[in-house]
Symmetry: D2
Subunit: 360 residues, 4 copies
């Protein structure tokens, strides 16, 4: 299989494995009372130029669900895009962790929510009315689930709206490094310019192993979050082995290097695909994902050639590049698609039957 299915199919960066091995000596207090966890706190506070509490956690779904659960009461509403992972792919995690919170979908383009639509949704929400879901937070995926990235301007516009109405900002940073690389901004800009209160900090999709993190900037969220982490079973006893992973992940720019590599491969593949007859990009490529408008018969051909990817519609394919996607993988994909696309161009439409299941 030439694997472009997802960035979670990839390997663990060797630096991270080495850090885990290095942490494996002597004993250490449990539940985050170890020195790796303490260092993590300092390291991330430096990185974000703000006091940051960092909680290593098993998955991004947990990071999102728990983050949202501390941002508002269970009668709250969290605004997000209809493409948000919290809406489409977490089996009601937000409602579960919070005890009933509602996701309110906000319109927008390119997988991002529109500031105007957000403002209008809040204005219409009926703040204070006992029968209405109360605006609690806005959740932004950075990079978005469609491989696009909010600009700092977009973020600060959204942040201003949120502040005006007293609601908080959650960022789902499952692909945060990819977005940072694209923007060329610092992690600190997310706090200082984008006003993020709590962050799902992704590592698994970018060379991590078994942990992501929640990073808290709003101090009032720390205590409730710590209890929620414990009772949901998300506080590891042997925390040092998780903290060590995250320390290695941000050490010496590893995370940004990994993301830059994935972004670059995606951009190059996308550029070449877009130049082929009959293909066009469905979304701008701003991170490590390619959404391609492509005939179903071409997708059939890719599958026959052993290319792994996901169909996102009858004429849309998604390809994801990893930090460890090789040049030969990229070439294999391009060569296969070039061949099938050319073949299709040569055949009048409708003369061949295309079968396509709904892959997800």
């Amino acid at each position: 299989l030439i694997d472009f299915r997802s960035d979670n199919t990839g390997a663990v960066a060797p630096e991270i494995l080495a850090a885990v091995a290095e942490a494996n000596s002597g004993t250490a207090a449990g539940y985050g009372m170890d020195r790796w966890s303490a260092e993590l706190h300092h390291r991330f506070s430096d990185l974000f130029q703000a006091e940051a509490s960092v909680y290593p956690i098993a998955t991004g779904t947990a990071a999102n669900g728990l983050s949202l659960s501390v941002l508002g009461p269970p009668w709250g509403a969290v605004y997000c895009s209809c493409h948000a992972h919290i809406e489409t792919s977490e089996a009601n995690a937000a409602g579960f962790h919070s005890g009933g919170l509602k996701l309110s979908l906000v319109e927008g383009e390119f997988g991002k929510l529109s500031p105007l639509a957000l403002e209008s949704a809040i204005v219409e929400s009926g703040i204070g009315l006992r029968q209405r879901s109360q605006p609690a937070a806005v959740s932004l995926s950075q990079a978005s689930e469609l491989g696009t990235v909010y600009s700092l301007d977009e973020l600060s516009t959204i942040s201003a709206i949120a502040r005006r109405f007293g609601i908080r900002i959650h960022m789902d940073g499952a692909r945060l490094a990819n977005a940072l690389v694209h923007l060329g901004c610092t992690p600190a800009d997310l706090v200082n310019k984008a006003g993020v209160d709590i962050l799902s900090f992704g590592a698994a999709k970018n060379g991590g192993m078994l942990c992501d993190a929640i990073v808290v900037f709003d101090r009032s969220l720390v205590e409730p979050l710590e209890f929620r982490l414990r009772r949901s079973g998300h506080t590891w006893s042997k925390m040092r082995f998780a903290a060590a992973q995250l320390l290695a992940y941000v050490h010496d720019g590893l995370w940004l290097r990994n993301a830059a590599r994935a972004n670059t491969v995606a951009e190059e593949i996308g550029r070449q695909m877009a130049a082929m007859d009959g293909l066009s990009l469905a979304m701008p490529i701003e991170a490590n994902e390619i959404f391609l408008n492509v005939d179903g018969r071409v997708m059939d051909g890719l599958e026959r050639d052993g290319i792994g990817f996901f169909r996102r519609g009858p004429a849309t394919a998604r390809f994801v590049c990893r930090f460890d996607t090789t040049e030969s993988e990229a070439e294999a994909l391009l060569s296969s698609i070039r061949r099938h696309a050319a073949q299709i161009q040569a055949i009048p439409l409708g003369t061949e039957h295309s079968t396509h299941g709904s892959h997800r």
Copy 2:
């Protein structure tokens, strides 16, 4: 620090680290669709001589809370000992995961619940009455939180009661290997003789790294559990790295060798402590924990000597042995306690002031 605080302060068995490194090659489908996960299913089914679905999971608290959540409705009652970890140390995880389930405490000795008391609690519960919590399950910690072990006879008595009333059996096996070694029975006996329906399978306390597991024997629990795992954020995307840990853990008896080592050290230390003047065991030593009746002044002395342990009362100390507790650690503990105990014997009671905080 000479560390007898807990078995979660210890290292990771090198075999497990090696297995993780070995799994780190190529790509693999996410969320448990990889070949390590498939092998895990087969390996555990062999081990337990019954079809077993295995779900690697971040913590024992998660394993317990999620297991209980599928055993009954949110108006259910789960019977357990007042010493059960689910009651004392999981911040209401059971009530959280299930949406309101109640723990009903059942009397017993040595940290275990009494079959007679269990039966009487079920009989008095008011089965079918709409205003009453409905009996859903019994949860047994094996080994118990007080370092003791249910015999197979005790387990089958409890199992028979549970079957008679149509309630299910959960086993909290945070220290399962220690119990198996003590009993000299097979894992399969837990299913076939003890009738366990769902098992929290502990690894972290016995040389594991960042994962324990839920093992399901009752097939009807599989589907709801899988959705609950996902929405609580307990389904890793890069699952192969968790599955590989568990495969190594049970490979070639590693788990039982580790547990045997911890149990043996505990037994030897306990034997020597019990022989000292003024000291006596508060509990029989059947696993890797020592509960000692000891003067508070002796505990003060241990702390001054840099011995790590927990006070479980003004005159009770808990020492936990790990798979990697060294002989020199054992000797240091014994030598320190021998010296302080002798000193106390030489001094009439009440002539020295003992300070002791409430360590937990």
Copy 3:
């Protein structure tokens, strides 16, 4: 105040008060074990030509939330219109009662969901995928929140789709009597032709006092519902006084007479409004509510005249007729609106400033 704000501002039908008084003699077993409750079961089973379990309940919000909570797991999705009361006006009750269930909004016209859009939403939902909300039920408001009514044909189309995918049908019948009167069908048609599994049976808006009801046709829902009613505090101890209200409500057609009266008044008012210059109906009038396209300055005028109604937009007004709306109230409303509408017609647009808050 000339009151067209809502049908919950009205009086209690004298027949219902009389029935409560008549039930007030002797003692009766609590929690629905009384003879009024038994009679209710029989009476509704006759009415719906199907075995019906009837649970008097304090509010429609409770009826809806509890009904949905038994129709699917907490990782389920319930399909409804974006105008549905469960979505707009129940402060996340569905998510609360179920422990996290999600409402999935389905497109449609006139406040009703479109069968085609429903089918497509189910098809796209990802049945069986662990990361997706699983289709559990469709919830239909009959009459809808926009005063329209699903035809029996529409209902049976929706029912067929639901059956095909194995999901259940909840009907929010807060204004059920108004819909039945409009359709001229029998209550039994809802079960036999529309396939309703569980029904929120409204009475309060149509001459009831303090109770609505849940009516269950799917026997498998009875036991979980009874426990959920009890633990949510919705099982009255002195149930006879609630059951007596509902018996009187359906006795000798009272509910249908009341609804017919409200519908007739609404239709007549609507007819006359639609005939005025500058006014038009925003929705067909099929029950007891009028949604009117009307200049904001006309609404200002109505308010100055002491007419109670709700603004549903800058140029939309909602008027609700009650079973006890008097002819003089109807005339007062018509006369006021006629006067203000005429005045507006005489003034060129934009020459007067209209202020309008967002009334709800």
Copy 4:
């Protein structure tokens, strides 16, 4: 049936029915925005000599569950007696409404919790430790479920403990009027001397119809409670008819007269029972309930005579007196029990077989 089963089997006080009828004129704004609700606020604030927000509610279970849900986080613990209705008879309502809160049982005598045991439980709880349920509130039933009453001294001792540890006080006043009558104290004493923060105010058991109330004295609880009421379906739209019931209930001392009547009958019956051979009171009679030590054969006899009561053990019977228990009912009970008790005295124990089911 001569009915001593419960005080919820009784009638509605005629004054309350009359008030409901009187409220039935004209229209009134919904959801508590009516003038009866406003008056209720003033009337109860006078009664308790403190600003009191009053929320009429369908049942005592709802009042308890919702009250507890605002007193602490879902990882909180509420201390109560093992006899508390919230523990024994509400199908996990507290865990449900709060999303996982735990009830921690505290020892005590006569159905009341012991201040010393309470203090010790809080001290041992592990305040601040993330793995522990955090002390949130103490819940006191006044009168208790065993028909006894906390003295003002007991209450202020408990209140002082609660204040010292920063936890709040909930009072389950399902039989509050009976307790007030026994103590001869004012309602205000509950706030000023006993420090109650939130009160489940019972009416149904003492001549009410379909509503009890939550009374809030701690202003910070008002907003979360109002949202919780709405989303749990406990905010009536036609609230005036509930408020009118409560206004009548406390008007001109009706509630206290009703309770005094029930208490007096209970006391007189208890006095006479205690004087009979072979019978003794199991609990002091301080409200309207009699717990009697009595041979099972005597209970068999009572049942044959058509006396309604509950068996609370093989040799314990519970008789409850209502505000409308008649003298002839009291005489019928006394005469029946006198006859059967005498018969038993005449027969040597063990010569007759006694059958007794477990009535609840």
